[in-house]
């Protein structure tokens, strides 16, 4: 069952093909708010987010508001996020709510409804999820996303140095899963579980989040993404240290669509809208030259 608005991965492929793959993170950190002339409060993050949306609409494919930086201002900050998301919807910008939610059962259903239901004031086109409770526990969100033409991005491998304690731990691949015989890292297990969920639904509803570099060594992510059948969100372009060349090395193998996200490197070019758009054009140009896969997906 797919919504009238079409499957998420097809909508994503369409806007990435048109505007380039760059996803702009809407991260109202205190330093950026000061640079843009806004207070570090609910009204300030609302003005920041809405000005960014107004400047970027029609010029980039996707924005990714960082939910924590709205939630820190309490319900007023969440109200500000609702208004930013509404502006983005009206402007035709695809939105990924970077919320990293995760729970079980009817509680997970509530998170899914908050971020993926047509009637929710917080509805985005996709939401990031955290799989410590197992990818299977996220099923209510995958189901609702498939119904409403939305998507999820499940954390698989992140670049922070503390991550390997969990993400690089190993377990035996269940005999029921033929994809990766033998021992398998947790991060690969997340990718494989998302791949199975996409195959079962016949559409790429379950993307993954993979850092452009892994851990403290700066080596590539080491994951087999070729069977995923959905999009890969790659945070940390720019301020967190990854370059377009790093991306080409890590994701130039035909997996797609790959959506690299940059926050501070773009936003610190603001608040002047033309300077913001110039920064996006430059980065999209550098990314475009790499031949990153934009879709369609080889599932």
């Amino acid at each position: 069952m797919t919504s009238a608005r079409g499957a998420f991965v097809d909508r994503l492929t369409a806007v990435v093909t048109r505007h380039g793959p760059l996803c702009v993170g809407i991260d109202p950190h205190p330093g950026l708010l000061a640079r843009w002339g806004h207070e570090d409060d609910a009204a300030g993050v609302e003005r920041f987010g809405r000005e960014a949306v107004a400047a970027l609409a029609g010029h980039v494919a996707v924005i990714k508001p960082q939910v924590a930086l709205f939630e820190v201002h309490g319900s007023g900050g969440v109200r500000a996020l609702e208004r930013v998301l509404a502006d983005a919807r009206d402007a035709g910008l695809l939105t990924i709510a970077d919320a990293k939610r995760g729970d079980i059962g009817s509680t997970m259903t509530a998170y899914a409804r908050a971020w993926l239901a047509d009637t929710s004031p917080l509805a985005a086109d996709a939401v990031t999820l955290s799989p410590y409770l197992g990818v299977g526990s996220l099923t209510p969100a995958l189901d609702l996303a498939a119904q409403t033409g939305r998507g999820v991005f499940v954390l698989a491998r992140t670049s922070n140095p503390e991550a390997p304690a969990v993400q690089s731990a190993q377990s035996w691949t269940p005999l029921s899963d033929p994809t990766t015989p033998g021992m398998r890292e947790v991060a690969q297990g997340v990718v494989d579980a998302c791949a199975a969920a996409n195959r079962a639904r016949g559409t790429g509803v379950a993307g993954v989040v993979v850092g452009a570099t892994a851990g403290t060594t700066g080596q590539a992510h080491g994951l087999d993404l070729t069977r995923l059948g959905a999009a890969v969100l790659v945070p940390g372009l720019g301020a967190q240290g990854a370059t377009p060349d790093d991306l080409a090395r890590a994701f130039g193998d035909g997996t797609g669509p790959v959506v690299p996200s940059s926050s501070r490197e773009i936003l610190s070019a603001g608040p002047d809208p033309e300077a913001l758009r110039d920064a996006c054009r430059a980065l999209n140009g550098a990314l475009g030259d790499l031949g990153l896969p934009a879709g369609p997906i080889g599932a």
Copy 2:
């Protein structure tokens, strides 16, 4: 550095000693809202939560609002949660915000400020965190909790059947960590990292979440909690299948304080306040007879 209000684990031990260990989950699921005569909207969850707080204040030690069931109503639901938390503060009820948040760096700092800063409208006495990005990534929350006399509960082992794919994966214990030589499960690694964080801070700021039963087998959690030096939050008493006897088998080994949480079993006794309190008294009585450790903590 500890706040004037004292360390979280001492405050928790004091209220548990006085009222018994039961933590009442404030979970405004649609079915419960209907039973209490409230709509499934922001106003409904606010009335439900505030009526529960009014009935429970002075009769139980701790409440645990389930954030997802407020967030599903958008910013209006988050505003409702702020009012429920304010009522609980005024009434002297300890609060654990069941938010399962987790991120890295300055973003994690924002989540920490949202739930643990004195000035935040969402401030609770403790918040649950999810460690898929590594327990080390949660440091901003542990630091702020220690400063403000608050605490965190990090997901370690949960009871849902999808959990072992991540939580039972194994990795080599780092040579720098003498606690558990050899291979170690992710869940035990979370416990050991929290134990190290508590030793480093000299106070039990980092508790863990451990299901009363583990996985589909109903067996005990299998974790060594004896060095934790902080509290253990045990969800799922009642509706999710664990009995007080299960708790005694799983946690009767001198680790403490153990805080079992029950939601639907208690709340479905409402909305009559006296019936709610009777249900709490009965469950606290059954728990009290088990001799669960209430503190002080053996670190």
